[in-house]
C-alpha cells in the first residue's frame, strides 16, 4: 500500500471525524448541563436536515442559506422539544429522561417518514466534485471553530457557569438564583444548532433518509472514546474514530467495517472508561 493512499485515507478519515466530533459535541453539551443523554439527537439532526433540504428544493437556496435554515430549524425543534416534553421531567432521573428521548426518537423518525417518506435522497455537498483533500481542509475548521466557541461559552460566560452549576447540583444551583429551566432550554437549543450543522455536513455522505439519525451512534462513540463530557475529548474521539473507520477496511475484511466503531467503543470502555482525554468522575455520597 502506497504512502499516498494512506495519507488520502487518513485525510478523508479526518473529514468524517470532524463531523462525528460535531455530533459528539451536541451530545456533550446537553450532558454537561443536564447530566442526561439525548437519545433523539440523531433524529433531531435528521429533521433539521430534511427541513433545510425541502427549503433548498422549494426555493433554490444557495448552500450557505440552506445551512442557515438547518440551524434555525434545529434550534427551533430543540427548543420546542425542551419546552413541551423535557421540562416536564426536569426533576426526573437520567433514566426517565433517557427513556423519554428514546420515545422522542421513535416519534421523530416516524414523523419524518410520514412527511418525506422513508426513501433515501441525495443531499448536495458543500464541496462538490473537488478532490477529497479540500473537504477536510474546510470541514475541520468549521468543526474546530464551533468547538472553540462552545468551549469558550462554557468556560468563560455567565451562562456557561450556570450550566456547569446545574450539572453539579440542580437544587443548589436553583438556590443560588440560577434558572434551571433557562439552562435546560439554552443547552438544548445549543445542541440542536450544533447537531444541525453536523446534519448538513453528513447528509451528502450517508444520504438523507429517516434512518440517518443512527449515524449519531458514531458521535456517541466518539464522545466516549474522548471521554464523555469533555469537549476537547469529543473532537479527539471524533477524529480518532473517523480515521480508524477509514483505515480499517484496508486491513480487515470489508464486512467488519461497520462493527469497528462498536468494537472500539467497548474496547475503550473496558480499558479506559474515562476516555482518552476525560477525567474520572467522582461523586460524593
Amino acid at each position: 500500500m502506497s504512502a499516498a493512499t494512506i495519507v488520502h485515507v487518513v485525510v478523508s478519515g479526518l473529514a468524517t471525524g470532524a463531523i462525528y466530533a460535531l455530533m459528539a459535541l451536541s451530545l456533550v453539551i446537553i450532558y454537561n448541563a443536564t447530566r442526561t443523554l439525548n437519545f433523539a439527537q440523531g433524529e433531531m439532526l435528521m429533521m433539521s436536515t430534511f427541513v433545510a433540504w425541502s427549503a433548498q428544493r422549494a426555493l433554490g437556496l444557495p448552500l450557505v442559506l440552506t445551512l442557515v435554515v438547518a440551524i434555525l430549524a434545529g434550534g427551533a425543534l430543540a427548543w420546542l422539544v425542551e419546552r413541551a416534553i423535557i421540562r416536564r421531567a426536569i426533576a426526573g432521573t437520567h433514566w426517565d429522561v433517557l427513556i423519554i428521548t428514546v420515545g422522542l426518537s421513535l416519534i421523530l423518525r416516524a414523523a419524518a417518514g410520514l412527511a418525506w417518506t422513508h426513501d433515501e435522497f441525495p443531499f448536495p455537498s458543500f464541496f462538490p466534485s473537488a478532490p477529497l483533500v479540500v473537504g477536510p481542509a474546510r470541514v475541520a475548521p468549521v468543526s474546530l471553530g464551533i468547538l472553540g466557541g462552545s468551549l469558550a461559552l462554557i468556560r468563560f460566560t455567565r451562562l456557561g457557569r450556570a450550566m456547569r452549576a446545574v450539572a453539579q447540583n440542580q437544587r443548589a444551583a436553583r438556590l443560588m438564583g440560577i434558572s434551571v429551566e433557562r439552562v435546560y432550554s439554552t443547552s438544548w437549543v445549543l445542541a440542536g444548532v450544533v447537531g444541525a450543522v453536523a446534519g448538513v455536513l453528513v447528509a451528502p455522505v450517508v444520504f438523507l433518509s429517516s434512518t440517518m439519525g443512527l449515524i449519531v451512534i458514531n458521535g456517541f462513540t466518539a464522545a466516549v472514546i474522548g471521554g464523555f463530557g469533555s469537549m476537547p475529548g469529543a473532537v479527539v474521539g471524533g477524529m480518532f474514530l473517523g480515521v480508524l473507520e477509514n483505515l480499517a477496511p484496508l486491513y480487515l475484511p470489508s464486512g467488519i467495517r461497520y462493527s469497528v466503531p462498536f468494537v472500539v467503543l467497548v474496547a475503550v470502555l473496558v480499558v479506559r472508561p474515562a476516555g482518552l482525554v476525560g477525567r474520572v468522575e467522582r461523586r460524593k455520597v
Binding site: L98, I99, I107, E181, R283
Partner: protein, 331 residues
C-alpha cells in the same frame, strides 16, 4: 383460596383453554406474546431490578434464536428442552463474556455498550453466512417432540406456554429471595447496597447472565414459533420495543413485564395496518408513561410499593423539594 393464589391458576387455565377458543392466528399471536413475556422478564431483571438499561436485547434474542435453529438443523436428535437450554446457556455465556467487562461501566455507558452489542451481533450474523445464511435468512426445521411427531401451531403454543410459565414462576420466586432483594437494593442505591454488604459486582454480573439466559431461551422459542430467521428482524428497534414493554408494564415488576409484553405485542399486531404510524404511537406511549405513570401499568392500576413519586404536570416555579430518590446528585 385467596385472590393471590387464585390469579396464577386462572391465568394458567386461560392459557390452557386458549387454543380451543381462539383461531389459528390468535394462537400464533399468543405464542409471540409469551415469547415476549420471557424477554421482558429477562430485560426487567436487568433494567428494572438492577437499574442497568439495555438496548441490546434484540442481539441476545438473535443469539438464542440462531443457536436453537442451528442445533435443530445440525443435530435434529437433540430434544427440544435441551435445545432451549443450550440456546439460553450459549446466550448467557456470550452475555457474560461481553457483560463482565462492561459492568465496570456506569449506567449510561452500559446502555450504549449494549446498543453497540446489538449492532455487532446483527453484523456478525450477516457475515457468518456459511453458518447463518446471512441476509437470505435461515429456515428453522419443524419442531418434533418425542412421541407427538411434528408440532403444529397449537403444539408450539403449548411448548411456549409451558416454558413461559416455568420461567415466570422462577422469576417470581427469584425476586423474593436474597438475590432478588439484593437486585432491588442495587437499584435503589448502589452505594447503599455496597455499604450494607451486598456484593454489587457479583449480583450485577448475575443479573446480566440471568437476563441473557432468559432472552436466549425466548430466542429459541421465537425461532420455533416464527420458523424463519433473518438478521434484520433483530435490529435496534426491536430492542427499543422491549424497553417499551417493561416501561409500559412497570419497571422492576414481574407482573408488569407480563402485562407490558402483552399490551405492546397485541398493540403492535393491531396497528399492523398503520405501519407508518406505529413508531409514532409507541413513542408517544413511552413518553406519556414516563411523564404520567412512571411505575407503569402495574403500579398505577394494580398497586404496589410506591417507588416513584409521579412527576407533576405543568411548569415548576421556585425551589422544588422533589423526592430525594429522583435527584441522585443531591446531598
Amino acid at each position: 383460596m385467596s385472590a393471590r393464589r387464585a390469579w396464577p391458576v386462572l391465568v394458567l387455565a386461560a392459557l390452557a383453554a386458549w387454543p380451543w377458543v381462539a383461531s389459528r392466528y390468535f394462537v400464533f399471536l399468543a405464542s409471540l406474546v409469551l415469547v415476549n413475556v420471557v424477554v421482558a422478564i429477562g430485560l426487567n431483571l436487568l433494567s428494572g431490578y438492577t437499574n442497568q438499561l439495555s438496548f441490546g436485547h434484540a442481539g441476545f434474542l438473535a443469539l438464542g434464536a440462531y443457536a436453537a435453529a442451528l442445533v435443530a438443523i445440525h443435530a435434529p436428535a437433540v430434544p427440544v428442552v435441551v435445545t432451549l437450554l443450550l440456546a439460553g446457556a450459549f446466550t448467557a455465556a456470550v452475555g457474560l463474556a461481553f457483560g463482565v467487562p462492561c459492568l465496570r461501566l456506569g449506567g449510561l455507558y452500559l446502555s450504549m455498550a449494549t446498543l453497540a452489542f446489538g449492532f455487532v451481533i446483527t453484523e456478525a450474523i450477516l457475515n457468518l453466512d456459511t453458518l447463518t445464511k446471512g441476509a437470505d435468512g435461515l429456515r428453522v426445521p419443524v419442531l418434533r417432540l418425542g412421541g407427538f411427531g411434528a408440532l403444529g401451531d397449537t403444539g408450539r403454543y403449548y411448548l411456549t406456554a409451558v416454558t413461559a410459565a416455568l420461567m415466570v414462576a422462577a422469576a417470581v420466586n427469584l425476586v423474593r429471595t436474597r438475590t432478588g432483594r439484593a437486585f432491588l437494593a442495587i437499584r435503589e442505591s448502589e452505594i447503599a447496597a455496597q455499604a450494607s454488604g451486598v456484593p454489587v459486582a457479583a449480583y450485577k454480573t448475575a443479573a446480566f447472565g440471568l437476563s441473557a439466559f432468559y432472552t436466549g431461551v425466548a430466542g429459541g422459542l421465537f425461532a420455533f414459533v416464527v420458523g424463519f430467521l433473518s438478521p434484520d428482524a433483530f435490529d435496534v428497534f426491536l430492542s427499543v420495543d422491549f424497553v417499551v414493554m417493561i416501561v409500559v408494564g412497570g419497571l422492576g415488576s414481574v407482573p408488569g413485564s407480563i402485562i407490558g409484553a402483552a399490551v405492546v405485542t397485541v398493540l403492535y399486531d393491531w396497528l399492523a395496518a398503520f405501519q407508518n404510524y406505529r413508531p409514532l404511537i409507541f413513542g408517544a406511549i413511552l413518553i406519556a408513561c414516563m411523564l404520567f405513570m412512571p411505575g407503569g401499568i402495574v403500579l398505577s392500576y394494580v398497586g404496589g410499593p410506591d417507588m416513584a413519586a409521579p412527576l407533576t404536570w405543568g411548569p415548576r416555579h421556585g425551589p422544588q423539594t422533589p423526592n430525594a430518590r429522583r435527584v441522585p446528585g443531591n446531598p
